[in-house]
C-alpha cells in the first residue's frame, strides 16, 4: 500500500530547503483533493489562507457510517500523519495545529500523543505545537465549522458560510481544516513517485473480508466489491450513510469515481462502501439510516429535525403494513424537501439514501 510507506521525516527535511510557496505549488500540481469526500483542491485551500495568526486542524472525526480509513492510517502509519501536519503547517506558516480526534477513537489518543512527543525535535525546528482535542461523539462535528465550535467549547453547530474558515475560522482566525488521509499523503507527494489515484476504500457489509483496501479510483464496481468477497449476491452498494446507494446488478460495471457516482444520484464521499446482500430489506436499511440521522441531527433547523423524525415514522408504518397510499408520496416529498431546505450539509445529505432507495427500489416500499 502506498499509504503505508515510511518517510521518516525525509519529506519534511526536503521541504525545509524549499520556499513556502514552492511547497504549496508542489501540492497544487499533484492534484491532491480533500480525501474526506469534499474534493476541494488541497493546494488551493492552502493558498487561500488569510493573514495573521493561523491554525491548522486535522479532521480526525471520522464518523461516517461504514468509513474507517482514517483510523487505519492512525493505527498503522501515524508518523506519516504527524509529518504531513508539520509540512502543511510549515507551508502555511502555522505554529499551532490541532488533531480533532473522534470521541470513539479515544484509544488512539495516548499513542498519538507519544508520537508527537517523539517528533518534538522536528517540530521544534518550525516552532510547531500539535495538540489533540477529543470530540464527544457527535457526527455533526465531522463538519469543518462544527469542529471549530466544538474546539471553542460551544454547542457544535454549523456556521453559515461565508466567511470561510480560511478567512475566519478558529477564534475568528484563518484556519485550514484537512482530513487525516489528505495530510498523510503530503510527505509522499513531497518525496515523489506518488499516485493520486490510489485511494483508501472502507469495505463493509455482507462481506467475508471487510476492511481497508487501497484501490485505484475508476475501477469497476464489481472489481472493488469482489475484493471484499461478498457472502451472497450483492443487491445494493451504499456510500456511507449519507451518500445514497445504487443497485449492484445494474451498475456492477460502473467505474467508481466521484462524477459517475454523482450522475447516478449517489455521492462517493469518503469512499466507505457498504455492500448490501440480496436477503436485505431496503426499507429496513432506510429506516436504520434515517434513525441515525434523527439521532445525529443537531436540531437547529426545521426540515432536518422534524422532517427526519417523520421519515422514520413513515418508514415504520410501511414496515408494519400500516401505510396508506399517500404515505409513500409524502415520504418522497419529505426526502426531497429535507435536502432542498435544510440549513447545513448534514441535513441536505440526510435523505440522499432515501432518494436513491425510492429511485431504484421503489417496489419494496409497499403499501
Amino acid at each position: 500500500m502506498q499509504i503505508l510507506r515510511k518517510s521518516n521525516w525525509e519529506g519534511f527535511e526536503k521541504t525545509r530547503k524549499m520556499k513556502r510557496i514552492e511547497i504549496i505549488n508542489v501540492v497544487k500540481k499533484s492534484g491532491l483533493k480533500g480525501r474526506s469526500g469534499s474534493n476541494f483542491f488541497t493546494g488551493l485551500k492552502w493558498e487561500l489562507m488569510g493573514k495573521g495568526t493561523r491554525y491548522l486542524i486535522c479532521n480526525a472525526d471520522e464518523s461516517e457510517p461504514g468509513t474507517f480509513k482514517d483510523k487505519f492510517i492512525m493505527e498503522n502509519n501515524p508518523s506519516l500523519l504527524i509529518e504531513g501536519i508539520a509540512i502543511a503547517s510549515y507551508a502555511m506558516d502555522i505554529h499551532s495545529a490541532i488533531i480533532y480526534l473522534r470521541g470513539e477513537y479515544f484509544h488512539l489518543k495516548p499513542k498519538l500523543e507519544k508520537l508527537i512527543k517523539q517528533s518534538e525535535k522536528h517540530l521544534k525546528k518550525i516552532k510547531l505545537k500539535i495538540k489533540i482535542v477529543l470530540g464527544a461523539g457527535s457526527y455533526l462535528c465531522g463538519e469543518e465549522t462544527a469542529i471549530l465550535e466544538s474546539i471553542e467549547g460551544n454547542r457544535p453547530l454549523v456556521r453559515k458560510k461565508p466567511p470561510y474558515p480560511s478567512q475566519s475560522g478558529l477564534y475568528g482566525k484563518p484556519t485550514c481544516i484537512n482530513n487525516v488521509e489528505t495530510l498523510a499523503n503530503i510527505p509522499l507527494i513531497i518525496l515523489g513517485n506518488w499516485d493520486n489515484n490510489l485511494q483508501l476504500f472502507s469495505l463493509s457489509g455482507d462481506l467475508n473480508e471487510p476492511g481497508i483496501y487501497e484501490i485505484e479510483l475508476g475501477m469497476p464496481l464489481k472489481h472493488i466489491v469482489s475484493l471484499g468477497k461478498p457472502k451472497n449476491e450483492p443487491k445494493a452498494v451504499y456510500f456511507g450513510g449519507s451518500g445514497g446507494c445504487i443497485p449492484y446488478q445494474k451498475f456492477k460495471n460502473l467505474r467508481v469515481d466521484n462524477e459517475l457516482i454523482s450522475e447516478k444520484g449517489g455521492f462517493l464521499g469518503a469512499r466507505g462502501l457498504i455492500i448490501v446482500g440480496e436477503n436485505r430489506d431496503i426499507v429496513d436499511i432506510s429506516r436504520t439510516l434515517s434513525e441515525f440521522f434523527v439521532h445525529e441531527s443537531c436540531g437547529y433547523c426545521t426540515p432536518c429535525r422534524e422532517g427526519n423524525f417523520r421519515v422514520v415514522e413513515l418508514l415504520e408504518k410501511i414496515e408494519n403494513n400500516k401505510a396508506k397510499k399517500d404515505d409513500v408520496k409524502l415520504l418522497e416529498q419529505l426526502a426531497y424537501h429535507i435536502s432542498d431546505t435544510s440549513y447545513c450539509a448534514l441535513g441536505v445529505a440526510s435523505t440522499t439514501h432515501l432518494k436513491c432507495a425510492l429511485k431504484y427500489f421503489k417496489k419494496e416500499f409497499k403499501v
Partner: protein, 564 residues
C-alpha cells in the same frame, strides 16, 4: 448593486439580505424565527426563496450583484408550507399569536402530521419537597427489582433522587411496578392521585358522573380484600371482603363486581391456550400475562419473549370488556354511559388501562384505576367508619367467583388455578387434591414437575422483577412448559398500590388470608363458576372462540427505551 427580484431589476446595497431588499420593494416573505431586532438565524426555514434554482433562506442570505431571486414559485410555496406543517403538529392554535398568523397565511389549519409528543402519561409522581433521601426507593428499584431507574444526583443539601439522565418517563425502563412508592416512608413517590387534593377532586368528579346518570361500576382485585383493612388499623391478614363491598356502595358505585370473576375467565382462556400450545408444541413455554408491569418489562427488555406470553388480557380488563358488551346489553345501557373503575393493588394497572389497544366498543375497557391506598383514602374522606361496616355481597353476575380466581392475588396463584383446570380438561377426571403447595410461598423462583395423566408438565413461578431478570438471562426459562411471572415480590398482595408499610412478614399474612379464603369456598375451580359458564353459553361461545379472541385477547409490541 443590481439584483433581479421576481423578474424586475432593483437596486440594492452590498451587505443587505434578500429579505430586507424584498421588504423595501413591497414583496412580502413570511418569516417565523426572524426578528428585526435580533441576528437572523435561518432556523425555521420558512422565509425560503429561490435563487438560481436553489432554495435559500432570505433572512440570512446576503445579496450578490446580479442575483436573480424568485419569491413566488410553487416550489417555494410548497417548501414554506411543508416546514410549517412540520412545526405545528403539536401546536393548538391561539389566533393572535405570530405563529398562527403565518400558518393561516400559508393556508394551514391543522398539521398533516400527528402529534410528535407521544409521552406516556406517567401514573406516578415524585415530590422532592417531601423526600427524606432515605434511599429505600433507590435500593428497591436497583437491588430488588433490578431496574435501576432511580438514582441520587447532586451533592450535599442539593442531593435529590432522579431518573437517570433526567430522561422523560417514556424513554425509561420504569415498569410502574410502584415498589418505590410502596417503600416510600414520606409519600414523596406515589401514584398521581394519592394526595389529599387529588382524592377530593376525584370524589367530586364521581359525584358529577353519578348525577349525570352514568352507570358506574367498581371491581375489586383479589389482593385488595386481604390488605384494605390495614388502612383502617386492622391487623395484616384480615379479610375485609364484605366491608369493602359495603363501603364501595356507600361511596356511590352502582354495582360492585369482583375481578375474581375476570380471573376465572382468564383461567378458562389461558388454560385452553396452554393446552393448545402443548398439543402444537409451538411457542412454549407459555408465560402468563396478568401482570402489566411484567408485560411492559418484557416489551422493552425481552421482546423475543413476546410470542410466548399468553395473549389473554389481564382479569380486570376482561371484566371491563365484558361489562361494556355483555353486561351493558343485558341492562340496556350504552357502553359509553357505563364507567368501569378498577380497585387494584397496583400502579401499573393505571398505565395498562390507558393502553390504546385495550379498547372495547370504542371505549377503554377500564376507565379508571384506583389503588388500595387511594380507595382507602376515599373511604376515609367520606367519613365512613370502615371497621364497623356490615358485610355485603358482590353484585351478580360479574361478582360470582371461585377459589381459583381468588388466589390470583398471590405469587403462584395463577399457576395453581390454571393447573386445577388444565388437569380436568386434559385427563377428563375430577381433581382430588386441589392444593399445589409446591408453587406457593415467597421463594423468588419456584419450580415443579406436575404430573397430569401421563404427561409431566414443568412449571415455574417467578415473582419480583429482579428474579425475573435472573431467570430469563440465565436461560432457565427455556426448561419449562408454563411460567407465571409477577413483577412485585409476593405477587399482587405486595403490589405497588398496597397499604404502607408492606414487609415480607405482612406479605405472608396477606397470603395466608387469600389461601384461607380459597379453602373456605365451596367453588374452587374456575371452570365450575356458574356465571362464567353462563357467559360462555349466552355470549362468548367457547374459550379461544371468535368472540373471546375479540374481547378477551390482546397483542404486545416491542417498546423502545433508552436503557434496559
Amino acid at each position: 448593486m443590481k439584483i433581479k427580484l421576481n423578474g424586475k431589476w432593483v437596486l440594492a446595497e452590498e451587505g443587505e439580505t434578500i429579505l430586507k431588499v424584498a421588504e423595501r420593494n413591497k414583496i412580502h416573505i413570511p418569516t417565523l424565527c426572524y426578528h428585526p431586532d435580533l441576528k437572523p438565524q435561518g432556523r425555521c426555514r420558512v422565509c425560503l426563496v429561490e435563487v438560481h434554482g436553489k432554495l435559500v433562506t432570505s433572512c440570512d442570505t446576503k445579496i450578490k450583484d446580479k442575483m436573480e431571486i424568485i419569491t413566488n414559485t410553487k416550489r417555494v410555496a410548497d417548501a414554506r408550507k411543508l416546514n410549517i406543517e412540520l412545526l405545528c403538529s403539536n401546536y393548538s392554535g391561539e389566533k393572535e399569536l405570530e405563529f398562527s398568523v403565518v400558518a393561516k397565511e400559508l393556508g394551514i389549519k391543522k398539521s398533516i402530521f400527528e402529534k410528535t409528543i407521544k409521552e406516556i402519561k406517567s401514573p406516578m409522581e415524585k415530590d422532592n419537597m417531601k423526600c427524606l433521601l432515605c434511599g429505600r426507593c433507590v435500593q428497591v428499584c436497583g437491588v430488588v427489582q433490578k431496574i435501576n431507574n432511580i438514582e441520587f444526583a447532586g451533592r450535599g443539601v442539593s442531593s435529590r433522587i432522579t431518573i437517570p439522565y433526567d430522561l422523560s418517563v417514556k424513554d425509561t425502563p420504569c415498569t410502574f411496578c410502584g415498589q418505590c412508592a410502596l417503600y416510600c416512608p414520606s409519600n414523596a413517590i406515589r401514584e398521581k392521585a394519592y394526595n389529599k387534593k387529588a382524592v377530593k377532586t376525584m370524589m367530586e368528579e364521581m359525584d358529577k358522573l353519578i348525577n349525570k346518570k352514568k352507570f358506574v361500576i367498581a371491581q375489586t382485585a383479589p389482593a385488595v380484600r386481604a390488605s384494605l383493612g390495614e388502612m383502617f388499623g386492622m391487623k395484616p391478614g384480615t379479610l375485609v371482603t364484605g366491608k369493602m363491598v359495603t363501603a364501595l356502595r356507600k361511596i356511590g358505585f352502582d354495582k360492585v363486581f369482583d375481578t375474581d370473576f375476570g380471573a376465572d375467565l382468564t383461567i378458562m382462556e389461558e388454560a385452553s391456550e396452554f393446552i393448545e400450545r402443548m398439543k402444537s408444541k409451538k411457542n412454549l413455554p407459555l408465560i402468563t400475562s396478568c401482570c402489566p408491569a411484567w408485560i411492559k418489562f418484557a416489551e422493552q427488555t425481552y421482546p423475543f419473549l413476546l410470542k410466548n406470553i399468553s395473549s389473554c388480557k389481564s382479569p380486570h380488563q376482561m371484566v371491563g370488556a365484558i361489562a361494556k358488551t355483555y353486561y351493558a346489553q343485558k341492562i340496556g345501557v350504552k357502553p359509553e354511559d357505563l364507567m368501569v373503575v378498577s380497585i387494584m393493588p397496583c400502579i401499573a394497572k393505571k398505565f395498562e388501562a390507558n393502553r390504546p389497544e385495550l379498547k372495547t366498543a370504542g371505549c377503554n375497557d377500564v376507565d379508571v384505576v384506583l389503588t388500595t391506598r387511594e380507595i382507602g383514602r376515599m373511604i376515609k374522606t367520606k367519613n365512613i367508619n370502615f371497621t364497623k361496616l356490615k358485610d355485603e355481597e358482590f353484585d351478580e353476575p360479574l361478582g360470582i367467583s371461585s377459589g381459583g380466581g381468588a388466589i390470583f392475588g398471590v405469587t403462584g396463584g395463577v399457576m395453581e388455578a390454571a393447573l386445577r383446570v388444565a388437569y380436568e380438561i386434559l385427563t377428563g377426571k375430577i381433581l382430588q387434591k386441589l392444593d399445589f403447595i409446591q408453587v406457593r410461598g415467597l421463594e423468588g423462583i419456584k419450580e415443579s414437575d406436575v404430573k397430569i395423566g401421563n404427561q409431566t408438565i414443568k412449571v415455574a413461578v417467578v415473582h419480583g422483577l429482579g428474579n425475573i431478570r435472573e431467570f430469563i438471562e440465565s436461560g432457565r426459562w427455556k426448561n419449562y412448559h408454563f411460567i407465571e411471572m409477577m413483577a412485585c415480590p409476593g405477587g399482587c398482595i405486595g403490589g405497588g398500590g398496597q397499604p404502607r408499610p408492606t414487609t415480607n412478614e405482612i406479605r405472608r399474612k396477606r397470603m395466608e388470608a387469600i389461601y384461607r379464603q380459597d379453602k373456605s369456598m365451596e367453588l374452587r375451580m374456575s371452570n365450575k363458576n356458574p356465571a362464567v359458564q353462563e357467559l360462555y353459553s349466552e355470549f362468548l361461545g367457547k374459550p379461544l372462540g371468535k368472540m373471546s379472541k375479540k374481547l378477551l385477547h390482546t397483542k404486545y409490541k416491542k417498546r423502545k427505551v433508552k436503557f434496559t
